[in-house]
């Protein structure tokens, strides 16, 4: 995808997130979904950045299908993870034993 930085993989053209191929440092400037953004935090390989702006309740699309729903406003370029999306299937449990997004 030429609208997205080479350090990110877009798995399907319909996706609202892109996946990091490598660690990307905080403050890095990159293009994603045609927008220039500055990363507010470091991300490591396999983590997701928003390719499209999402509102609470919007489906998060990866592999061209929904992998859950946004739980907060997500701006293009934001890290998408437990803090701003949730499973539509079962809550995701983390090491603390708490459901991260019940």
């Amino acid at each position: 995808m030429d609208d997205t930085d080479g350090r990110l993989i877009v798995l399907d053209p319909a996706d609202t997130v892109a996946v990091a191929r490598c660690p990307v440092a905080a403050g890095t400037r990159l293009t994603i979904g045609g927008r220039d953004v500055v990363l507010d935090g470091a991300i490591t390989i396999g983590h997701k950045l928003a390719r499209r702006a999402m509102r609470p309740g919007d489906k998060v699309l990866k592999y061209g299908v929904s992998i859950g729903s946004a739980t907060a406003e997500i701006a293009v370029g934001a890290h998408v993870h437990l803090h701003n999306m949730k499973s539509d299937y079962t809550p995701t449990h983390t090491r603390t034993g708490e459901a991260a997004n019940p």
């Binding site: 996946v19 191929r21 396999g46 990866k62 992998i67 993870h81 437990l82 499973s87």
Partner: protein, 396 residues
């Protein structure tokens, strides 16, 4: 694209022509291994270790001994195990293959049984060198896919690239099989939407629900904390990473181990036993999955690995696809395809998918995989129990 294979009486064709030496209880394993030693390039050991009877194991052994890559079969029995060796021998003979049974207790012990077995293997291996060949195309091929030793890279490089290869194979008329319903929890609806008929969609959903119940009973969760560290947020996201191996073709049917797909297309294999949890984990290691693919006719298996599995298989070649570029650098002598190039940005998904497709064609035409060349012939078969599939599973 055509290549030469080995025609069998049932109409299928093999891409290899090996002598299967099958032990029918662990007590006969040593003798089987010794029989194969001088013929390791032509004969492979397979077998079932249990002494108690099991309908699944009996059926699996019949399917494996009449696999298209097998040209002749030697059964090695201790003599007092409960495996029905007569029924297995009859099934092999009815398939048109040379078959002989060595019963260790009747042959006069270990040394005599090994000598008798080696004489059969030497004779049949020489006969296989003169075996007739017939033209084969990709439409004759059955290809399985499994993943093992997965890490965060498998779902974004190796698995989707294998899915691209599956799409091209299905388009060419091949039969492709994916599996591990326990790793599909959360993508039932996405998968059901690809089913050829509404009844099949229901059967696909039910197979994943069965897997979820089975794993819950074992107390074995699917989403581990380490998954979130690796960037995975939800169970459906993790499952989609495994599911990506299946590509995007319509799903033609749902089979269980040993069911042979009736025609080309994409099939899901339900590997989770039916009924109450009885014999433990559905598949105790990656080779148990590869064996089930072979029992359903897989000529070769694609194996996507992130952490770096080194296994191959008896009977059917395994094409190993490295998902992680760092692992590829360390273990390249064991890896056939470097899908890690998707991670480094050196190649796209389509490019690696094409490379996997080309590797399938080359291996089918006789090129040795890394694990074949290294002499890997792993095999494992354990106890399981299945009900037959229902009519909704294979729509006309």
């Amino acid at each position: 694209m055509s290549f030469l294979g080995y025609p069998r009486a049932d109409g299928r064709k093999g891409i290899r022509n090996v002598v299967a030496v099958a032990y029918l209880v662990e007590c006969a394993h040593h003798v089987a291994r010794e029989i194969v030693l001088p013929h390791r390039d032509r004969a492979h050991v397979i077998g079932f270790p249990g002494c108690y009877p099991n309908a699944y194991a009996q059926r699996m052994m019949e399917r494996l001994c009449t696999h298209p890559n097998v040209g002749a079969v030697l059964l090695v029995s201790l003599g007092c195990e409960s495996f029905n060796r007569q029924a297995l021998e009859r099934a092999v003979r009815d398939s048109g293959r040379p078959v002989e049974t060595v019963v260790i207790q009747q042959a006069g012990g270990t040394r005599s049984a090994i000598a008798a077995g080696r004489a059969f293997v030497a004779r049949e291996a020489a006969a296989l060198d003169r075996a007739p060949t017939a033209e084969m195309t990709l439409a004759d091929l059955v290809v399985g896919t499994v993943c093992g030793g997965s890490d965060g890279t498998s779902g974004i490089s190796g698995n989707p690239a294998a899915g691209r290869a599956f799409d091209r194979l299905v388009a060419a008329g091949a039969t492709c099989i994916f599996e591990e319903t326990g790793e599909l929890i959360g993508c039932e609806e996405v998968m059901a939407a690809r089913a050829a008929t509404p009844d099949l969609a229901g059967a696909l959903r039910a197979s994943v629900e069965k897997a979820a119940r089975y794993y819950a009973e074992l107390g074995y969760g699917s989403f581990a904390a380490g998954n979130a560290d690796g960037g995975l947020t939800t169970i459906e996201e993790k499952s989609m990473g495994a599911y990506a191996k299946s590509g995007a073709s319509p799903i033609s049917g749902l089979i269980k181990p040993g069911d042979i797909p009736p025609r080309g297309g994409l099939y899901l294999m339900d590997v989770v036993p039916d009924g109450p949890v009885r014999f433990g984990f559905p598949n105790i290691s990656d080779n148990a999955e590869i064996v089930e693919m072979m029992a359903s006719g897989a000529h070769l298996t694609l194996f996507v690995t992130g952490r770096g599995s080194v296994v191959g298989s008896a009977i059917s070649p395994v094409i190993k696809i490295a998902a992680n570029p760092e692992m590829y650098d360390r273990l390249h002598e064991d890896m056939d395809v470097n899908a890690g190039r998707i991670i480094t940005g050196a190649a796209g998904l389509d490019e690696v998918g094409d490379e996997i497709f080309d590797a399938v064609a080359a291996v089918a035409a006789g090129q040795q995989t890394k694990s074949e060349d290294l002499g890997h012939t792993e095999f494992i078969l354990t106890y399981k129990s299945f009900e037959p599939i229902g009519p909704a599973c294979l729509p006309a």
